[in-house]
Symmetry: C2
Subunit: 224 residues, 2 copies
DNA sequence: TGAATTGAAATTGTATACCGTTCGGGATAT
DNA sequence: ATATCCCGAACGGTATACAATTTCAATTCA
């Protein structure tokens, strides 16, 4: 478990926060988990100082929450908060797509179509999340707005760990894929407004799936 | 210059980052300024450790930029980066307004109108920025999306220090105010789509003003 | 039996000390 | 005069040490 850091390529806090970010995004460190400074310091072979700085960074990104004198835990979001993050996804991604459409060339359509075809052939549900991101980021890339795209990626990663399990199994991939093809078609037509509207509906459907899944859990599982 | 921190209300890094944030937003610490850890530590009566943690937080928010082994400086944005931040403003604020309109009641219209009237009567250009924010945040509030609103506020604050000087003087307040009244009118009609469109045009006009101001500066001032 | 208490271990928070890098100025060489 | 080198001061980065707080279990008291 003890993994050394590369020396001096980037600063220690940055390396640590990057590793933690991945672990949190991927779900290897679950929501609500305590992040003990001593553990992390020993794992990365450093003192607690750079660990604390990494945690502060992640705190500012919203990935971890600080409790005064009680340390940091991986942020855990309520259903309503996840729905709000999806609202933010709608805002950012629709704008990015709207700006991207006028800049798209044939190569962009082809690479996006290629991703969708691979998606069709992919049987493993665990890989769908990655393919979904590859499609979405591919159609936003022509917007050529690095800050906007960075925000989208952060937001997407953050919300991902809460929707992967429930949605990809519950909603399957048929309907999302159909919508992906429709969005790509609107892009080919050069109709930015239509593409953005379809994308909004697409993400909004995720919101509805989440709400439905939550209602189902409430009905089946224990109360609370 | 030495200002003590309140004891233990919130953590020292949080208090320090909050003060620094205000100083940067208000322009009291200019873009590009070096943030010396010793100075800040002495000013706040603490060691460099909590100062460094505060800087890391601000770094994650994009307000300061770290140069390895050379410390932190207040982030400075190019024209294109400011324009991109305004694109993000359009994305987030149009969505917030779109979600807010269906939730608005008469009291919301009245308080927004009151802000606009006070804005009309305000002669000091330095106060316009604050009034502008009061109007904008007032019409987004009924969306009842705390995370979205927090993102909007962060983004607005961040971009503010780059546009205040040039735009408020160059564009005056006549045209923005006219647009504010039009937006409020669309809200009263309950036409969320129209309100969002007008808001997008409103912010987009800021982009155009910035570009024009930049072109003017280029023409008048020194080369580079 | 159960609630309140206390004290030690665990953990966070921060000051101090030390190491490594960067930067600027002066000496030397061309 | 200009360029290069070197050294020392200044500064950033992090390990260590210590102080403060929380936690939890054992103990005491009702």
């Amino acid at each position: 478990m003890k993994q050394k850091l590369k020396d001096a390529a980037t600063s220690a806090p940055d390396q640590i926060s990057e590793k933690l970010r991945k672990d949190i995004y991927s779900g290897r460190i679950a929501a609500g988990a305590q992040l003990r400074q001593d553990n992390l310091a020993e794992r990365y072979g450093v003192s607690r100082i750079p660990v604390r700085e990494a945690l502060r960074q992640l705190g500012a990104e919203g990935l971890v929450t600080f409790h005064p004198n009680r340390g940091a835990v991986v942020t855990s979001l309520s259903l309503n908060e996840v729905l709000e993050m999806l609202d933010i996804r709608i805002a950012l991604e629709c704008r990015a797509l709207y700006l991207a459409v006028p800049n798209m060339v044939d190569a962009d359509f082809e690479s996006a179509a290629k991703i969708l075809k691979a998606y069709d052939r992919e049987p493993r549900a665990t890989a769908w999340g990655e393919m979904n991101w590859r499609f979405h980021s591919a159609i936003y890339a022509p917007a050529n707005r690095s800050k906007l795209l960075a925000m989208i990626e952060t937001n997407y990663g953050h919300v991902g760990r809460f929707i992967r399990v429930q949605v990809s199994l519950a909603a399957g991939k048929e309907r999302p894929q159909k919508e992906h093809y429709q969005i790509l078609e609107a892009c080919k037509e050069g109709n930015a407004t239509k593409a953005a509207r379809l994308l909004g509906d697409h993400i909004s459907y995720t919101q509805k799936s989440l709400i439905a899944a939550h209602r189902r859990n409430r009905a089946n599982g224990a109360e609370s």
